[in-house]
Point group: C2
Chain length 314, copies 2
């Protein structure tokens, strides 16, 4: 009889489900539903169970054949425990224990942070899976995750791999990062930083970028077309990512850096710039570490969550 695991990505807006066939981890079915907004301490778990039951029924799958459930959530997690998850209004909760209350005893549960789980998902999505990875998500927020020897680096309190808040810049600024500090990677490479820098430069320099309708895509398209403001802004993002990677290279020394998130849709153009800057900043032989683009897009959370639970029950 076929056996399965679920990978579930719980976000503030939607919950995504992936049903994976063991042992090949073939993604058999996906499903998406809205995240409940009332009584989230209980309603999210009810919604997860309800959705799983529905998917099982639809595809004639018996709960006996579901061996485990992996869950990605948008906050720091340590050993399935969450102290504070503002996006889901969860406080002081062992997520795994909470979900298991509703499940048959044979179903294992594993939980971790969504960005680190995405790192695991990406690392496992290449023809030859990577064992040690630093994964970047470049977008409105800048984050990521670290995989060492095939395992998520959670850290002692769940802040492992929070690379968006590495200090990388001592540029003078009045603006404070969401974390309360200054000089974070997110503060110089996130979407807000890109828009801020475009506006600043456009005061003194002509640009083809429409300042009133700023999108990351427009900024990168302008840069690709040779717009000097666009080029400066993209270069700045690339150099700060490269500096942070040069630090991570002598700390973690991964097999590969994987670049994901909305900003990474700029593709090879951005990647080449990052690599150019990285080669200048890298120490010793770590300049050899390759950079590649993420490939699973929005499914990284599902895939990673499924691998997390697969690793646990294996």
């Amino acid at each position: 009889m076929s056996k399965y695991v679920y990978g579930i990505d719980v976000g503030g807006t939607n919950i995504k489900f992936g049903l994976f066939l063991l042992p090949e981890m073939h993604l058999a079915h996906t499903y998406e539903t809205e995240t409940p907004v009332v009584d989230q301490q209980t309603s999210i778990f009810n919604k997860i169970i309800e959705s799983i039951t529905q998917i099982n029924n639809e595809y004639n799958i018996n709960f006996d054949d579901i061996l485990g459930i992996g869950i990605a959530i948008p906050c720091p997690v340590k050993n399935d425990y969450v102290e504070h998850c503002p996006n889901l209004n969860w406080e002081d909760m062992n997520v795994s224990n909470e979900l298991r209350k509703h499940l048959p005893k044979h179903v294992s549960v594993a939980v971790s942070n969504d960005a680190t789980i995405a790192a695991l998902g990406e690392s496992q999505s290449f023809d030859k899976p990577y064992n040690s990875v630093v994964f970047y998500t470049l977008g409105t927020g800048v984050g990521g995750g670290i995989i060492i020897d095939g395992k998520i680096l959670e850290g002692n309190t769940g802040f492992g791999g929070e690379i968006g808040h590495m200090w990388v810049s001592n540029e003078e600024t009045d603006i404070t990062c969401g974390c309360g500090s200054k000089g974070c990677l997110e503060q110089v490479c996130g979407t807000a930083a890109i828009f801020r820098y475009v506006k600043e430069l456009s005061k003194d320099e002509k640009t083809s970028i429409d300042i009133k309708y700023l999108t990351v895509k427009n900024v990168f398209d302008a840069a690709k077309a040779g717009d000097s403001v666009g080029l400066k802004v993209v270069n700045r993002v690339a150099e700060y990512v490269a500096i942070s990677a040069s630090i991570l290279a002598v700390v973690v020394d991964p097999e590969v850096f994987i670049i994901g998130g909305g900003i990474s849709r700029a593709g090879g153009f951005l990647l080449d710039l990052i690599v150019d800057h990285y080669k200048k900043h890298a120490r010793f032989s770590t300049y050899k570490i390759p950079f590649i683009l993420a490939k699973t897009g929005n499914s990284a959370g599902l895939i990673g969550a499924a691998h997390l639970i697969k690793n646990k029950i294996q």
Copy 2:
């Protein structure tokens, strides 16, 4: 019958041996000898075997009761393999295989970098051993090691935990770090940086520090006595260590930072300054991570090497 492991710390000048009684890891005997300087590709191994045989004979220990040998060496190591070890003139060598040629088959061997092994030694030397640690050695060189879940973070090519070469400073300078780059932690916190900064400040400022007979101890003693040049220099070291720790906190999120190396003999005075700066720079709740002083001194390599092999054979 009692069983033992050896921890061996191979340096450019001396080779130190520790014989540890299993399973308590009681340090039964120590021995030190000079590192041979001719034909080091073979002579160092001969010297190790010769010394072990001598120690065994002296204490009436049969080789059958030696279960393993852990070795610390002063260069990057990956899976017992060394590409290039300038301090020992070793090239392209599997150190473990090389040593095992001279040993009875039942003796296991494990090899790793000396600073990372020292991290393991320190982590295991407290009443309650630590499982996840960032260890700093502050001295002529600045380095360290990272322990995650009780294991050394070697990295994919042996550069894991090379924290002395994290980029932390973009101060203008003509001086290049030993690694060929600029802005490394070692370049702003190592002994040479301390002396350079004292000399620079003393051009414009009165100081009680004897510029012609500079020692780290003199600089710290002057700082403790309120000398303004000494205080500025020590503060600078403390702040850069703190900045690097704030980065490592959101990457590794260790249980504890352990500060060792010659400069750490400044003790609580230095530690308190580091902690003050760290609290300003730390992100999220990582400001809670404690800093402690290393306690094993020059024995960290022996102890760590012994734990490395103990972990392997367990």
